[in-house]
Amino acid sequence: MFLLSMAIFITLFALPLVAGFLEIVHPNDDGRLAVDNDYMRDPRFFGNSFRAKIASLLATDQSVPRTQSFLGRTDERAHVARCIDVTADANVAEVLLALDRIDIADGATVIDAFGKVAATAGRNVRLRTISSDGYVELGDGTEVERWVDADDRLDVGRGCNLGVSASAGAQARIGSGTSFTRIFGNPVVAIRQGSDAISEGISPDFSAFDGNVIFEDDAEIEAGAAIAGSVKAHRRLTIGKGATVAGNVIGRGDVIVGAAARIDGHAFAEGSLQLDRGARVGTPRAAKTAYGTTALTLHDGAMVYGWAITDGAGRIA
């Protein structure tokens, strides 16, 4: 009886250790957690990475036009030509690489499009990616599944979808009704057809603060106020019309930046972030970020010098 009891005890005691013992003897999962030590934040990562991959395909010593395998993929081929025109409503199954420019007419469907000088897409075009060493123009209603990148300016019409990333080396003008996750530009400007950046003409001298301003609750910076430091609120934060903040704006809740308000630093909201008409984040001298965790809305003429990002829904109102 004693021996039986001991056997049962030892068995029950050892049972939880058996699987671990096997893992110790024959390790299947003993590697260190993966940390990418080469990772660096690059707002134009997709475009830069793509350019590096296609550089050899665009070498000028090769004859064009030609069609060849694309980056070792078995299911996709690349068509390389000097200029490429995609006709309306065409459905192109090849990656299109133009040594000069690529123009895609209304309603076409394309996988990847690259134009060294320019890349343009008409209305209601569907793309996986589109990029250029020059400028990129997207017509109304164009849908990008993954990303857009332009070395120069990026012009986006109304009601587009910009996928996971849109970036430009120069100005990115984004039409109303467009949805996005992240846009980088110098600056990013929300545009309603026929309008441009807006100045509300409010004098920034109603009140002034020398340093940082921190609120424990809901807070509102009055219209026209000038703050030399940063502003943080632990709940909802509203920056009044025409107010100026030399530092950063940080909100633990939703943040609204009023019309024509200027924030020289970052605007960061743990809730949603809204930039009203003509509001500005960042300066021409220093790119900054407008970050709304749950949503980011840019109204007409709102401008971000740098990066406009959200983990939720991005929208040009």
């Binding site: 671990g20 003993d30 660096m40 220093a286």
Partner: protein, 428 residues
């Protein structure tokens, strides 16, 4: 009378265990089910702040090159960066290595400490004096920061309330042996769940003294680092919160470190942490209770954080009290008190507390097979209890005798190899 006292003590221990078990559950559920608070690493800044990166070194010849090369490979603009290795009384080839780097790299400005106090707090006080910039990041010498890490950590300081930033520590030598594998599990639970949950809940994420940084002007204003403090990081965390500042945690700012590979080295490390942490408890407990800057939840978290290194001896004392009661005939083996004690202990430090937390962390880290090792953590806990209790006794001795503790560096694997082989270490 004795029986009554022991009964009361066991009841107190059970209460403490319940509180810690609830804490583990709360943090894990928050991490698994609730909305996660973002850090500032997604901010892109075309005008990054100037940084001073400090690397305290005492006989770090085996790792000095790796950490300096990693820092020099950073994408942080070099015109906004200075690297200050502090050679703290080294008697290996650390000094020669630092001289080489100083001559080769203009942004490396080593400081050679050859007299006076030794230890990290003293090295950090020197850094406060010599650093040129207000934001100071700190790495231990066995760390290898990735190319984008400095930028990610620096972004935390865009928040005007932030006094210190802490990144995530990831063991590099996980595969070495059972100890390193178990320590890897511990680290995952501590950072992936514990620190992130504290950050989510706006409690007290801890500045860990490495893979992190602070505002130099602020720390100087607070009086710098206490040279008698072995846990200068915990002490700084408390002092920042007590002054109304915040510590923020960057879960994605990950950096490899080397965890102890021998039980001796682990014992020494944990004993030092316990000794320092308990000194921080002694120094700050009253201030936490009386603070006007801390919310009630932060006070509770602060007290539980400060007390974490006295829990093992308290639990052991509860076990001893139970044994005494049993042998005095005052505790039938099936008494409700004894059962509650063992069940709660099991929940707090056995399978249901930290093990759930660590299992959740491994799930979040997308690790699979290593969770089979979770039951072995119970034995690591027994070992930890021994070293932590030694640290508690050290603290008591320090306070009674008013003595200053001696900083005993955790031995690197390379140093242990040298001792084993009896040969010198000559880095390439």
């Amino acid at each position: 009378m004795v029986v009554a006292f022991l009964d009361i003590w066991v009841a107190i221990v059970v209460t403490i265990m319940v509180i810690y078990a609830a804490r583990h559950w709360y943090f894990t559920l928050n991490r698994m089910l609730m909305r996660q608070r973002p850090f500032y690493q997604d901010l892109y800044d075309g005008d990054l702040p100037a940084l001073s990166v400090v690397v305290p070194m005492h006989n770090e010849g085996s790792v000095a090159r790796a950490v300096l090369d990693a820092l020099l490979a950073s994408d942080y603009p070099h015109d906004r960066l200075e690297i200050i290795p502090i050679d703290d009384h080294s008697h290996d080839d650390t000094t020669a290595i630092l001289i080489q780097y100083r001559e080769r790299e203009t942004i490396v400005a080593p400081v050679f400490v050859v007299a006076g106090d030794r230890g990290k707090p003293n090295a950090m006080n020197i850094a406060l004096r010599v650093a040129s910039h207000d934001i100071v990041l700190v790495f231990d010498a066995d760390y290898t920061p990735g190319r984008g890490l400095l930028r990610e950590l620096a972004m935390g300081f865009v928040d005007p309330e932030v006094g210190a930033v802490m990144g995530r520590v990831v063991p590099r030598n996980t595969a070495t042996n059972l100890l390193t594998r178990l320590l890897s599990l511990e680290r995952s639970g501590g950072y992936q769940v514990d620190q992130q949950a504290r950050y989510n809940l706006d409690l007290m994420p801890q500045y860990g003294g490495t893979v992190g940084g602070f505002r130099r002007s602020l720390v100087s204003r607070l009086g710098g680092f206490d040279v008698d403090m072995l846990a200068e990081d915990t002490d700084l965390t408390l002092r920042l919160f007590l002054e109304g500042w915040k510590v923020v945690y960057a879960n994605r700012a990950e950096c490899y470190e080397e965890v102890p590979e021998t039980w001796d080295a682990r014992f020494t490390q944990l004993r030092r942490w316990s000794r320092g942490h308990n000194r921080a408890l002694y120094n700050n407990l009253l201030a936490v209770l009386q603070s006007k800057h801390l919310r009630f939840a932060q006070k509770v978290d602060g007290i539980l954080l400060l007390a974490v290194y006295i829990i093992p001896p308290i639990l052991l004392s509860g076990l001893a009290a139970n044994a005494l009661l049993f042998f005095m005939g005052a505790l039938p083996i099936w008494s409700p008190l004894a059962l509650t004690f063992f069940v709660i202990s099991y929940n707090a430090f056995g399978n249901f507390g930290p093990v759930y937390e660590i299992g959740a962390a491994e799930l979040l880290d997308d690790s699979n097979e290593r969770i089979h090792l979770l039951p072995y953590l119970f034995y690591l806990f027994l070992f930890n209890s021994w070293s932590v209790t030694s640290g508690v006794l050290d603290t008591v001795g320090d306070l009674i005798k008013d003595r200053s503790p001696f900083w005993e560096k955790t031995k690197r694997a390379a140093e242990i190899d040298i001792e084993t082989s009896g040969g010198p270490n000559v880095p390439a």
